[in-house]
Structures are given as structure tokens and as C-alpha cells.
């Protein structure tokens, strides 16, 4: 093994990349615009949820409830009649339909404990979950304010002081931005190395390398370091300029620790890129393969939905994916300010997975060259 070869071949890769405008644009886009827009466009949990109200009471209280719903959380309520309700919900026009029964205010004041019916279209999970809670608290709030003048104190004086740590406003953009950086790292590490290898093969240059005093290990290593370096630098810049700068997401922990994790993750992902390229016969097949690999890696790594809610079998499989550990590490370091003492298991796991993938890909790569 000669380090000089690895160095020169790597420099060659960098020069090649510099002459490929498509890939450069892709890198720039993935680490800037994609992160910025995705983070900005991340909708609030409840955004203009369509609601309709059947007001059979027509009392001061019921109109008070009707006026309590307004944008941006809800649309301005549609006042409808009971027969319309089912039809509108069937055709998906409303997510929520609130039915205030006749004589609601009278019954309430008489202590007859009347019932308001809230219909929720539970096929719309995102709104159904959080929206249901909102509707409930809005109605309760209006009713209790209305009642304040009428009733004696019967409520226990226990307050719940609920705070969200690390992201007090539960701003989705923060988390989204980091998840997107990780997605971009995953995607580009695989695409850049995979495409670099396939391009060499399609142009026949790989054969040229093999008749020279160069070993497969050196060829693979050169692609891993050069493309990995590009992704690492780009992600570092993106973290500082886009995430911390433009989006002003406050991050806590050590940037160095995060970048160490990123480097290990990139190492593992570039090896995966080499592996995929050895399976795919051509660029188009590589593209199809990529679709099948990237989506699971991103959706199931815990960056989009919590790992705890996935079936154990998927959790177990995804434990072997580098992203899973990197997502845990990134959350801990950037949001919770965790140090090495906390995240060392993730670093160890990344190193182990990376080494394993490297050994495996190198074997595949050698066979592929034969």
C-alpha cells in the first residue's frame, strides 16, 4: 500500500468532481437550499385545520365557542346543518366537526352535564391527534370562562408546569434542519462515491488503473477519503452557515464532537456507496437501487419518527444502519449539549459499522474488479 497513490488518486477524484457541474450543483443545493426551504416550510403541527360546527343551540355560549376557532390553527368554521356533516366528512372537506346540541347552555347551567360531540376524521393522523387536544382545550376554556361567573370553586388547585427542554417552543424547523443535514450527508456520501466508481467503469478507466502498480485497496481508499472530505466540509459549512447562521438554530454541544461523528458516518456511508456501485451494473440501475436504499435509511433511522414506536424487528435491522446512531448522536450533541461521556457508545457503533462495511465493500470491490 502506498499513501502516495491514495493521495494522488484522491486528488484526481477531486479534480474530476470540480469539472462536473451537475454534481456540484447537487452538493450546493443539498446543503443549502434544500435544508433552508425544508426547515422553513415545515408546517406547524396544526395549520389551518378545516373545522365545521353544527350549532343547534344558538345561545351566547355556543356562538362564543364558534368564534373561538380562527386561523392559523383552524380555518374559519363552516356553520353547517347536521345532515351536511356526514357528507362533508365523507368527502374529506372537514377534519373536525363539532356538534353543539340544542339547549346546551341551559343544560350546562342546570348541571345536567350536556355532551358536545366532536367528530374527528382519524384518517388524518397529524391533525387528528394534536387538533383533538386543541379543540378540547379551546371548548373547555370558553365554557369555563363563561361559567366563571356562575359557579363555586370546585377545581383542585394543582397546576402542571410543562416545559420542553432543549427546544422550548418545540420549533420543528430546528430539528428538521439537523435531520435534513443528516439526510444530505447520507445521500451525497452514497451518490458521490458510487457515481465515481461507476463513471470509472463506464469510461473504462478502472481497467487502466488496474494495469498500473495500484491496488484495489488504494483505489477504494482514495474515493472514500476524497468524496468523504467533500461531504464533510460541505456539511460543516452547512451547519455553521445555514443551520446556525441563516436559520439561527441554537446548538449547544461541541461542534468538534458532532463533526467527528459526521466523519465516521460519512466513512461508513461512502463504503456503502462503493458496495452499491459494485452491485449495480450501470448508472440507471444504481439510480433505481438508490431509491430503494435511501428512503428506508432516512425514514427509519429515527430522524423522522421516533424509533421507539417502530416494530422491534425494524428497530433491530436499523440498528445496523450508521444513520440510526448518527441521528442519536446529533440530537444528543447539538440539542442536549451532551459530551463524549454520553455519546461514546454511538461513536463506537459508527466506527464498528464503518469498519465492517469497509471490509465487506473491499471484498465485493475486489471481486467486482475480477
Amino acid at each position: 500500500m502506498r499513501f502516495a497513490n491514495i493521495l494522488h488518486l484522491g486528488i484526481k477524484e477531486l479534480r474530476g468532481l470540480a469539472r462536473d457541474p451537475m454534481l456540484l450543483v447537487l452538493i450546493a443545493y443539498a446543503f443549502t437550499l434544500a435544508i433552508y426551504t425544508a426547515s422553513k416550510a415545515m408546517p406547524e403541527t396544526l395549520n389551518r385545520a378545516p373545522i365545521a360546527i353544527v350549532d343547534e343551540d344558538q345561545s351566547p355560549l355556543s356562538s362564543r365557542i364558534v368564534t373561538a376557532f380562527y386561523p392559523p390553527f383552524f380555518t374559519v368554521p363552516q356553520l353547517i346543518s347536521q345532515p351536511e356533516m356526514d357528507r362533508r366528512m365523507d368527502s374529506g372537506m372537514d377534519t373536525f366537526a363539532l356538534d353543539i346540541p340544542p339547549n346546551f347552555q341551559r343544560d350546562l347551567l342546570a348541571g345536567r352535564s350536556p355532551t358536545i360531540q366532536l367528530n374527528i376524521d382519524a384518517t388524518r393522523m397529524s391533525q387528528a391527534f394534536t387538533g383533538g387536544g386543541y379543540v378540547q382545550s379551546i371548548v373547555s376554556g370558553e365554557v369555563s370562562e363563561f361559567l366563571d361567573r356562575y359557579r363555586a370553586e370546585t377545581v383542585l388547585p394543582v397546576n402542571l408546569d410543562l416545559r420542553a427542554r432543549f427546544n422550548p417552543e418545540l420549533n420543528k424547523g430546528w430539528f428538521g434542519a439537523i435531520t435534513d443535514v443528516i439526510s444530505s450527508i447520507t445521500m451525497l456520501s452514497i451518490i458521490l462515491t458510487g457515481a465515481a466508481l461507476i463513471r470509472e467503469r463506464e469510461h473504462g478507466t478502472i481497467e487502466h488503473l488496474l494495469v498500473m502498480p495500484v491496488k484495489p485497496f488504494e483505489i477504494m481508499m482514495s474515493k472514500v477519503w476524497s468524496m468523504g472530505l467533500v461531504v464533510l466540509v460541505a456539511s460543516g459549512l452547512s451547519l455553521v452557515l445555514v443551520v446556525q447562521g441563516l436559520l439561527s438554530v441554537p446548538t449547544h454541544g461541541s461542534a468538534l464532537l458532532f463533526m467527528t461523528g459526521a466523519a465516521l458516518d460519512i466513512f461508513a456511508m461512502t463504503c456503502l456507496g462503493i458496495f452499491l456501485a459494485t452491485i449495480a451494473g450501470s448508472m440507471p440501475q444504481f439510480g433505481l437501487l438508490l431509491m430503494m436504499v435511501l428512503l428506508p435509511l432516512q425514514l427509519l433511522s429515527g430522524g423522522v419518527t421516533p424509533r421507539e414506536s417502530m416494530p422491534w424487528i425494524i428497530q433491530a435491522i436499523m440498528f445496523a444502519a450508521p444513520n440510526t446512531h448518527f441521528v442519536i448522536l446529533a440530537q444528543a450533541v447539538l440539542f442536549r449539549g451532551a459530551g463524549l461521556d454520553v455519546v461514546w457508545p454511538q461513536l463506537a457503533a459508527l466506527l464498528a459499522i464503518g469498519t465492517g462495511l469497509f471490509a465487506f465493500s473491499l471484498r465485493r470491490f475486489r471481486q467486482f474488479l475480477k
Binding site: K12, S91, L118, A164, T205, Q331
Partner: protein
């Protein structure tokens, strides 16, 4: 026999094609410039000149495959710029593009290939079978009817291409380099076949492009081209007479403008000094290479001396490249040994590689590096001392005449200079052996001779051993010794002169053919189904006579032509494992991933308590949370440091702090506050946790209030009865899966549809659409049908998966759902076809389609947030995007127990989308290349 006048010898007055001021550019590159020409009818016309002079562009313009940019082209008495003339002329022209089997479908059988063309020209079943039978008989392909086209030898591929071209009895046959890369025997058989066809159909005009001057000498009329211009035209004897050259090669060089001929000199290779034999540079003993059950190289032995120029002669795929790769150590031989300078070749032996320079077929240097960077990289990789490199590079630049191009990118250089660069790179480390694989293919005669001049010097002056493969006979004649190779075997190894003498042949080519014939004869008796076609004489001329032209289908729409594409597309799909797997397995895998990935259920969240009070009532409060299925309690928190640490490393999603004296204060009615911290790193999860905690807190309070205050607590109380409709258990899967089906039925079918068209563009078989009477609608619909069928299969699989694996209840009308799915997949495949009109490479098609489908389908189509909640552009896209409506239908059918009457309004947009997409697709699809 024929209604056509015999016009073989004398040129009729009416030309078959008339060109006036024709010009053509690709971007800034000028391919054709001011061509004015009459091409005589009823004879063999040859277009000669090296690669890249515009021959192919000219032929594709004449065939109507390419749109005319400049000038006027009349073919068969009409203007080719006129759509209506083209439409009636397509059935009279046959066009075989350049490249072995370029317009064939490699995974289809011989019969299916010809059958496809028959269908394109609207022949009935009987007529097709009769014609195919005759064609296969006459070309000698009959024994291979069921073989896949991709597995035929080069010569057979070209014969098959000819069958496909001739099925419709053309009046004009256009062949673009039909014999390039084909062995001499197959080449000869090919021309015999053409002669026979012409005897049977004397009125047919044939235009051929060729790089082989020997072939061109037999044609009736020649057009010599260079740099996009016509140098000269006339009969071969006229051209020879005009230039006073002994053969056409020389004549062509003489016709070149002066500046192109500058520095040209006849290659003269001095004879090798006698008595040098001794050290063997390359030795091969019984080399054999097998790939599976295919033997690429069969028992090859030779010995090459130091300083010798050794030629390897043979057709494409005969094993030349494989042998060379074994010698360089790129491939490990299955059997036998090879030695370089007495040392056995070991692929792991790095040292021996320093003594070899290798130049692979075609240009294979880094096109993203400049000439200098290429040289530098190779010098470094060969481990040359860094301070010696600049001098060596300067030396090579001067030697190979590259000095003026050092900072240019290779793609910007002409082929001849690129070949010199390849050679310079192969020579950078001063190797003793050069292995050159077809270094001159595609290079013009002047540059080719210059290249050989360098080889001569290397061999004679520096004693470099040169092992070179070629399929040019005049190059073979310059070698010290040559090996004739065919179908993996070496037929003979000797000096060119001895080979000619041994077979008593007039030329080396003739000698080669005789060797091939005897080899083929021997093989035929040994194994009738060997890789090479038997050298049997082809059928009778009667087979080629013109058939009465059957009345063909409607000009605008003929179901036969449409189903020709359907049938072929379906066959191809069945033979392509990657695409077929993606289509079936891919959707299921993605469904699994998305079903679980976009999971909103939050369960088993971890929490722990810092209980300063630790009384019955505080434990009761904690029990309220611990008892729910949403939370799992962890070991109690000991202090604030513990709380911080455990939240930082993500162990706890929720921490509860109960203040000291909680129970006491509560009993006294004092205000108490319970603290709760949620891990906000993941906001969606935090929000759900917050909802749960608030709910449980309120529940606990109400319960306690009832315990303490009794009925008084219910005064002013009301119930909010929540009905989770359509999904009473509020299962995430029940909500997500019915929306995932529309997304997957968009993503995969549209991508397959895009690829089906773009693949043809990239591989070149789209040319069949350009030059046959198929209309745009027939092409698009024909391609769409198999993917609609496949997508419906996907639909059934996905629905079954949803119901039986994910356990999502199906409550509505399946018939309605299936009918909507059918319309929807027509829409999604139609979107794919529409997208395909913009894309030209498969990789762009994959990413482009993913971009155009994934985001709108997942973000704007009501999968997560309903369309009515969207604003701005998102809302607009959501309203016009077809997925929106199928999501409504899918959810209605799955969860809302709806039937057709309830969902009919969502059918309308789908019904409108179908004609709109197809119309746009047809309008934007080009019937000609640009």
C-alpha cells in the same frame, strides 16, 4: 418477377435522393456543411470517410430519422421536411443505424425482433409468418430463430438487422457501417446477401456508409466525405483516375485538403535486424478463459520476441481483448500460463506492471483531467520520482506532438490526438512492452499512418515489444507477425507474407477468409450449433422478390402498430430482472418502510420521576402516567444532576418533578405546581407527549375532584364526546397505508414509464420509432399498456398487503376502488410518458421523476395534511395533482365505507387528466431526432 426496370449498371436520370445546401449542427459543432448532391437511384452508393466526418448524420437525414436544420432534402420524389410525404415514404425506406444491432432489442429472440418490425408495418399474421420464414431461410438465420438477439455474433446481428430492415420491401435501403467490427468472412457473406437481394429486386437503391475502402471499391458510386463536406463523388474508377492513386485508401488521402495532408508520409517499417531472436518478451501457453459455460479464449499459445510488432487480427468478440487482459493481469486465466520476460503473470504482482504499458479499446483516459494532468497522474501512479516527472512529461509532449494541447480537456481534442495521448500515457514510464487494443479504430487514415510511424520507431529504435490488435488489413500487413483469431481460437500465427503464401491467396484478407471458412467447416461437422454461423450459401434470389403491397392500416391510428409496441415492451420487461424486481418487490418494500416510517403512534415513551414528596397521593399521581400504555417508567431520578444527565443522553423523554409537601398542600387547598420536562429535541414526539401528559393531568384532577367534592364538582360540567371516525382505534397504519397506496402507484409506474422511453433514447432503438409509420399515439399508448397492467398487479398486491399484513380494515366498495385505481394508473403512467419527452438520459429520468412525483405526492396530496389546509403554491399543486383525488377515493373505500355514489366527484378529475396528459405527451414527443 419484378415490376421495376432493371437499372443496375446505367444510372437512371431520376436520383433517389437530392440534397441542396444541407447543413447540420450539434450545439456548436458543425457536422454537415453545405452539402449539395444527387444520389443516383437503383445502384449501390458508398459513403466513405473516417469516423466523425458526418456520414451518419447525412444518412439519418436522408432516412428521415433526423429533422432537417438547413437546406432541402428530397427522397423518393418528395420533400423530407414535409410530414405527409414522410408518412407515406417511411414504408418505402429501410434504415439500419450504425453499431452492431443498434436497432435490435437484445433481450428479444430473433423471431420476435423481426416480428416486431412486421407489426410496425402493419402486416397481418399470415403475411408476417410467410415473410419472416423467407427472410430467415435466405439469411441462414433459420436455425437460430429462438436465440436472443444480444447473444448473436456480430455478423449474425447484422444479418438480423438486415432482415428487420427488409421485412417491408423497401425501395431505398440505407446501411450505416453495416460491417464495422464484423469478421471478414461474415463481411463477405453480408455483401453476398446484399447482391442477392439486389438481383431479386433490381430497382432497389442502396446507400452504404463504410470505413473499409476495400469494400467501397465494389460499389457503383462513391461519395468521399471529410469535415462535414463532400470531397468528391463518382464511380470508384473515376476517383482512382482523378487522383492517380493505386487504391482507394491512397485516393482518399489524395483528396484531402492540403493542410490535412501536411506531414503525411507513407509508413515504412524497416525490417527487423536478423539474428535478434532470443529473449521472449511475451509467452502464452494454452491460455483459456471461460465465463460461465462460454469459452471466450480457447487454448491460445504464442511467443513474441523482444522488439517485435505482433498483430492480433479478428472481429469484435473473438477473444482479442480477453487475451490482452489476461496478459496484463486484468483477468486471471482459467487455464494455461502467460509469461512476461520469463516471469509468470500474477495479478497480485505489482512489479511486473511497471514493465507493461496498456492502451485499452476506445479512449479510456480521464476526460475530466487535462492532457497534462492525465500524464502527471499516470507518472505518479507508476511511482516515478517527483522531480523527474516534469521533464518526462515535456519529453512525451514533444515526442507525441501534444505540446499545443497540454491544458486542453481530452474531449475537446480530435480522435487522432486523443489516441496519441493514450499512447503517451501508456509510454510514460518507459515500459518494455506495449499492449494496444484496437488503437486506431475510428481514426482517419492520415492520423492512423502517423500513429504507426511512432510504433515503428518504438519497436525498431527502442526495442519495445508491441502487441497490437486491429481489424484493418493494411495495418496487419505492417506487423512482423500476426495471429488470426476467430471465436476464441488462434487460426494461424505467421508473418503476413507467409500467411498469404500458405493459402495461395491474393490478399491477406482473402487468406483470412479461407482460414475462417475451413475453421467454420470443421466446426460445423463438430457441433452444428456453435457460436459462429455456418458458411453455407444463402438462399435463392426468389426469396427477395417484391411482394404485392398489402393494404396497410389507417394512417393515423392502427391498433396493430400500437400492440406491436405493447407486445415488445412486455417481452422486454419480462427479460429485465432489475426493472421487474423494482416494479414488484420495490413497491412492497417501500410500502413497508413508509407504513412504519410515517408512524404517528407514540408509545412506550420513557419517563422518570423526581418525587420530593413520596406520599400516597404523589405516587397515585405517578401511577396515572405509569399505568398508561404510552409511557414506561424508569428508575426514579435521584437529584437535579441526575435529571440533567439522563435527559441529555436521551434516556428520558419526560421527567416529572413533584414538589415537597405536595400531598399536604393539596389537602389544604393550597396552590401546588408539578413540574414536567419534555425532551424537545424531536418536536413531533414532544408535542404528542405534551398532549398525553396534559390529558392525564386533567383526568387525574377530575377524578380527585369527584372524590373530594362529590357531585358538586359536576355542576357546570359538560362532556366532550370525541368520536374518532373512520379509524376508531386511531391506528396510525389505518390512516397512513390507504394514502401510501396512491403514492406508490404514482412513484413506481411513472418511473417505469419514463424509463421505457428514455432507455430507447439512450440505447438508440428509438430510431425505429423515427423511421417507421408508427404515430405518436400508437407509440405512447402501446408503451403505456403493459405498465398499466403491471401497475394494476401492483395495486392488487398493495391492497392485499394492506389488508392482510398491515391489518387495515377495508370497508367500502372494492369495485369502485379498483375502477378508480385503473383510471389513476393510466394517469400516473401517462405522467411518466409526458416527463419522458423532456429527459434524454436514464439517470436524469430517475432523479427527475423522483423529484416530480415524490414531493407533490407526499406533501401536497392530502397524505399528511389535508389539501384544504395548504396555502399558496402547495394548495394549487394539491388541487390539480391527481394523487389528491385518488387519496380521497382510497381513504373513502378503505376507511369510510363509501361506494361509487359518494366518490363519483373524485373520479371526474382523473377522467379529465387522462386525455390531457396523453395529448400533451403526444404533442411534445418528437418524431425525429434533432
Amino acid at each position: 418477377m419484378s415490376a421495376w426496370p432493371s437499372a443496375t449498371a446505367s444510372l437512371p436520370s431520376q436520383p433517389v435522393a437530392r440534397l441542396e445546401g444541407v447543413g447540420h449542427s450539434y450545439g456548436r459543432a458543425r457536422a454537415l456543411d453545405g452539402i449539395t448532391l444527387d444520389i443516383p437511384a437503383g445502384c449501390m452508393v458508398g459513403l466513405i470517410g473516417p469516423d466523425g466526418v458526418g456520414k451518419s448524420s447525412l444518412l439519418s437525414l436522408i432516412a428521415g430519422a433526423r429533422a432537417i436544420q438547413q437546406g432541402r432534402i428530397e427522397v423518393l420524389g418528395g420533400n423530407m421536411a414535409d410530414v405527409r410525404h414522410r408518412q407515406i415514404t417511411y414504408p418505402r425506406i429501410a434504415y439500419m443505424p450504425q453499431g452492431l444491432g443498434k436497432n435490435l432489442y437484445p433481450t428479444l429472440s430473433v423471431f420476435d425482433n423481426i416480428d416486431f418490425f412486421g407489426r410496425l408495418f402493419g402486416h397481418s399474421r399470415d403475411e408476417r409468418e410467410r415473410r419472416i420464414g423467407e427472410l430467415l431461410q435466405s439469411t441462414g438465420l433459420a436455425p437460430f430463430t429462438a436465440r436472443q438477439a444480444g447473444k448473436l455474433s456480430g455478423g449474425m446481428k447484422q444479418k438480423l438487422g438486415l432482415c428487420c430492415a427488409l421485412i417491408h420491401d423497401p425501395d431505398l435501403l440505407i446501411l450505416d457501417e453495416p460491417t464495422t467490427g464484423v469478421d471478414p468472412l461474415s463481411r463477405r457473406q453480408f455483401w453476398e446477401l446484399i447482391d442477392q437481394i439486389r438481383r431479386g429486386r433490381p430497382g432497389m437503391s442502396v446507400i452504404v456508409a463504410t470505413a473499409y475502402m476495400e469494400e467501397a471499391a465494389r460499389f457503383d458510386w462513391l461519395i468521399a466525405m471529410d469535415g462535414g463536406r463532400v470531397l468528391a463523388s463518382g464511380s470508384p474508377s473515376e476517383l482512382l483516375e482523378r487522383t492517380g492513386a493505386p487504391d482507394l485508401d491512397e485516393a482518399f488521402i489524395a483528396l484531402l485538403p492540403q493542410e490535412r495532408r501536411d506531414g503525411y508520409q507513407q509508413v515504412v517499417i524497416p525490417p527487423r535486424p536478423v539474428g535478434t531472436d532470443g529473449e521472449a518478451a511475451i509467452e502464452a501457453e494454452h491460455l483459456t478463459m471461460r465465463f460461465g459455460d462460454f469459452t471466450a479464449v480457447d487454448d491460445v499459445s504464442f511467443r513474441i520476441e523482444r522488439g517485435e510488432i505482433f498483430g492480433f487480427l479478428g472481429s469484435n468478440g473473438c477473444g482479442k481483448t480477453t487475451t490482452m487482459k489476461m496478459l496484463t493481469g486484468l483477468l486471471q486465466a482459467s487455464e494455461g500460463k502467460a509469461r512476461l520476460f520469463g516471469r509468470e503473470i500474477d495479478p497480485n504482482d505489482i512489479e511486473v506492471r511497471r514493465r507493461v504499458g496498456y492502451m485499452s479499446q476506445g479512449f479510456s483516459l480521464y476526460s475530466e483531467l487535462t492532457v497534462r494532468q492525465n500524464l502527471e497522474l499516470h507518472a505518479r501512479l507508476f511511482g516515478m520520482a517527483p522531480d523527474a516527472i516534469p521533464q518526462r512529461i515535456a519529453e512525451m509532449a514533444q515526442r507525441f506532438d501534444l505540446a499545443g494541447h497540454m491544458d486542453a480537456l481530452p474531449d475537446a481534442l480530435p480522435l487522432g490526438i486523443r489516441q496519441r495521448l493514450s499512447l503517451a500515457v501508456a509510454m510514460i514510464h518507459s515500459p518494455d512492452i506495449l499492449i494496444l487494443d484496437e488503437p486506431t479504430s475510428g481514426v482517419d487514415p492520415v492520423a492512423r499512418d502517423g500513429f504507426w510511424q511512432i510504433l515503428s520507431e518504438l519497436s525498431r529504435k527502442q526495442n519495445v515489444t508491441i502487441f497490437v490488435s486491429t481489424h484493418f488489413m493494411n495495418e496487419a500487413e505492417r506487423c512482423d507477425r500476426v495471429s488470426l483469431m476467430h471465436a476464441g481460437r488462434v487460426l494461424v500465427t505467421d508473418t503476413p507474407a507467409m500467411i498469404v503464401q500458405n493459402r495461395a491467396a491474393p490478399t491477406l484478407e482473402e487468406a483470412f477468409i479461407r482460414y475462417l471458412e475451413s475453421a467454420a467447416g470443421a466446426k460445423e461437422t463438430a457441433s452444428p450449433d456453435a457460436g459462429t454461423e455456418p458458411g453455407r450459401p444463402a438462399g435463392t434470389p426468389e426469396g427477395w422478390t417484391k411482394h404485392p403491397r398489402e393494404k396497410r392500416g389507417n394512417r393515423f391510428f392502427d391498433p396493430r402498430r400500437m400492440f406491436a409496441y405493447t407486445r415488445r415492451e412486455a417481452l422486454e420487461l419480462l427479460h429485465d430482472p432489475i426493472r421487474a424486481t423494482l416494479a414488484i418487490v420495490g413497491t412492497l418494500v417501500l410500502m413497508l418502510v413508509v407504513g412504519y416510517g410515517i408512524n404517528m403512534d407514540v408509545e412506550n415513551m420513557t419517563f422518570a420521576v423526581l418525587d420530593h414528596d413520596d406520599t400516597a397521593i404523589s405516587r397515585d399521581y405517578v401511577q396515572q402516567i405509569a399505568g398508561s400504555r404510552y409511557f414506561t417508567e424508569k428508575a426514579p431520578i435521584s437529584d437535579y444532576a441526575d435529571l440533567d444527565r439522563r435527559m441529555e443522553d436521551g434516556e428520558l423523554s419526560l421527567a416529572i418533578e413533584i414538589p415537597p409537601g405536595f400531598g399536604r398542600d393539596l389537602a389544604r387547598g393550597r396552590n401546588v405546581t408539578i413540574g414536567a420536562w419534555i425532551d424537545g429535541a424531536m418536536p413531533t414526539r414532544a408535542e404528542t407527549v405534551r398532549g398525553y401528559v396534559q390529558g392525564m393531568h386533567a383526568g387525574w384532577l377530575a377524578q380527585k375532584a369527584r372524590e373530594i367534592y362529590g357531585d358538586a364538582a359536576t355542576v357546570g360540567n359538560f362532556q366532550l364526546a370525541i368520536r374518532y371516525r373512520y379509524n376508531p382505534d386511531v391506528r396510525s397504519l389505518d390512516a397512513i397505508v390507504p394514502a401510501v397506496i396512491p403514492m406508490l402507484l404514482l412513484l413506481i409506474p411513472s418511473m417505469l414509464a419514463v424509463l421505457s422511453v428514455v432507455r430507447e433514447k439512450e440505447l438508440g432503438s428509438i430510431i425505429n420509432f423515427y423511421v417507421t409509420p408508427v404515430t405518436r399515439f400508437e407509440f405512447l399508448l402501446g408503451k403505456q399498456i403493459p405498465y398499466v397492467v403491471l401497475a394494476m398487479l401492483n395495486f392488487l398486491l398493495l391492497t392485499a398487503f394492506a389488508i392482510f399484513i398491515f391489518g387495515v380494515p377495508f370497508t367500502g366498495s372494492f369495485a369502485t376502488f379498483a375502477a378508480a385505481a385503473f383510471l389513476y394508473v393510466i394517469v400516473t403512467t401517462g405522467m411518466g410518458l409526458l416527463l419522458s419527452t423532456f429527459m434524454s438520459s436514464q439517470i436524469a429520468a430517475i432523479f427527475g421523476t423522483a423529484l416530480a412525483t415524490m414531493i407533490p405526492a407526499s406533501q401536497y396530496s392530502g397524505m399528511i395534511d389535508p389539501v384544504s389546509s395548504l396555502q399558496g403554491v402547495g394548495a394549487f399543486i394539491g388541487q390539480i395533482y391527481p394523487t389528491t383525488y385518488f387519496v380521497i377515493i382510497s381513504r373513502g373505500a378503505f376507511s369510510k365505507a363509501l361506494g361509487f355514489d359518494d366518490l363519483s366527484s373524485a373520479f371526474l378529475p382523473l377522467l379529465i387528466a387522462i386525455p390531457v396528459l396523453l395529448g400533451l405527451g403526444a404533442a411534445l414527443l418528437r418524431k425525429q431526432a434533432r
